[in-house]
């Protein structure tokens, strides 16, 4: 029950994109096409779950016992970078079509603040290992939901008559604001 609450909390109630503002860059950059939004969401979710595991283990067995907490930021970002590189190699070997579809978005996951943010939140909230993994999965689900919703809306927006000055990023942010308002409706759930 506790785990379910963590999952739903991360995915919907405190959506990483729409209420913590983590991962805004891909949210605005990659939400042009629905299909690439789905792949990006999947890849990010995978990296998020792996990061949750890796950074938790790192903190619990290396940084914590050695009292190297001040190295957290440096160590975590290195883990994330290595992990993204690893995921890239695995996908390249096992599924070349998926690799081509994701293209440049894959290495860019390193600088997605949702990933490092997740690692830091796990430490702040002192989650256990299983909780961290569930939290990572929830965050990934939330990111995917927000990205796909936005991509769907933007595909429709291409046909709309938007004032010239607001085209592109402006209208995307206004739509995101409206979505954030809608997601506030979940606030009372937990």
């Amino acid at each position: 029950m506790d785990l379910l609450l963590i999952f739903i909390g991360a995915a919907v109630v405190n959506n990483f994109v729409l209420s913590y503002f983590l991962g805004i860059c891909p949210f605005i950059g990659v939400s042009g096409r629905f299909s690439s939004a789905v792949s990006m969401g999947m890849a990010t979710t995978f990296v998020l779950v792996m990061t949750a595991m890796a950074t938790w283990l790192l903190q619990a067995y290396l940084l914590g016992p050695l009292h190297l907490d001040y190295l957290q930021t440096v160590a975590f970002i290195l883990v994330v970078a290595a992990l993204v590189q690893f995921v890239e190699m695995v996908i390249k070997k096992t599924s070349p079509p998926l690799y081509r579809a994701l293209g440049i978005f894959l290495p860019l996951i390193t600088t997605n603040c949702a990933v490092l943010g997740l690692a830091l939140f796990i430490q702040l909230r002192e989650y256990g290992f299983i909780q961290s993994v569930v939290f990572g999965a929830g965050a990934g689900a939330g990111f995917t939901i927000a990205l796909c919703l936005m991509a769907g809306i933007r595909e429709e927006l291409e046909l709309a008559d938007v004032p010239p000055s607001l085209r592109g990023a402006g209208i995307t942010l206004l739509v995101a604001g409206t979505m954030a308002l809608a997601f506030m409706g979940f606030a009372g759930m937990i």
Partner: protein
């Protein structure tokens, strides 16, 4: 080559032409997340300026030593080091500011402005120019952040830097909430685009008139190229 770009232009380009937040849309996460009060905006801006100057200087100094394949990793380690310095300093000196910015101080590591400037500028230019570029970009970021934060604080709380401006103001709570951040920034971007479009239009009109006036002496169009437009 653009070796002739003056020091002044190097700084000024970050403020408007290539403003990282409003024109290049980099570093959106802290921009939206911490701009609930003007003081947060200023603090975040100063932290980013410090990291940006230090990392640009450092990266520009080591740019010939780092092999091309591992440069991104090397840049990230350099940036993370300075971010840790800022994080620990703020925790020690300004504990309440540090807690209100929360995880967004360590998250400066993944702020695309810093890695972006490292990759696009500091890795190709000397230390002096890289510092100037960092000052300009950092100032552009700080100004946009403070502007956005002030708007949100005034409308959402009726205060500015904690000083009550309108005692009878019924605060629009939504401006402080996430939705308000998206909406305000979207409208500001629209405004900036509007200003740029009208500038562009009036400059084009001036150009046409100038070339018409000069038509007797020179070929139209050959007059006054516009090199001022910032190149990356």
């Amino acid at each position: 080559m653009k070796g002739q770009v003056s020091a002044r232009q190097e700084i000024l380009k970050g403020l408007w032409d290539q403003n990282p937040t409003l024109r290049q849309l980099l570093g959106m996460c802290p921009t939206l997340a911490i701009t609930t009060s003007a003081i947060n905006g200023v603090a975040m801006g100063l932290a980013v300026i410090f990291v940006l100057i230090c990392s640009n200087l450092m990266i520009s100094l080591v740019r010939r030593l780092v092999p091309n394949q591992v440069r991104i990793a090397a840049y990230i380690v350099i940036i993370a080091t300075f971010v840790t310095v800022v994080d620990l300093t703020m925790k020690a000196r300004f504990p309440e500011l540090s807690s209100s910015l929360g995880a967004f101080i360590p998250l400066i590591v993944v702020n695309c402005i810093i890695l972006g400037r490292a990759e696009a500028f500091a890795s190709k230019n000397g230390p002096w120019r890289s510092v100037l570029d960092a000052v300009g970009m950092g100032a552009g970021f700080t100004v946009s952040l403070t502007f956005l934060a002030s708007l949100r604080e005034i409308l959402g709380n009726g205060t500015l830097f904690g000083v009550t401006l309108f005692p009878a103001w019924e605060p629009w709570v939504v401006m402080i909430l996430p939705a308000g951040g998206f909406l305000t920034l979207g409208l500001i971007l629209g405004g900036v685009n509007l200003i740029n479009r009208s500038h562009e239009a009036s400059r084009r009109r001036a150009l046409v008139e100038a070339s018409r006036a000069a038509a007797g002496f020179a070929l139209p169009g050959a007059a006054a190229g516009t090199p001022a437009r910032g190149e990356a």
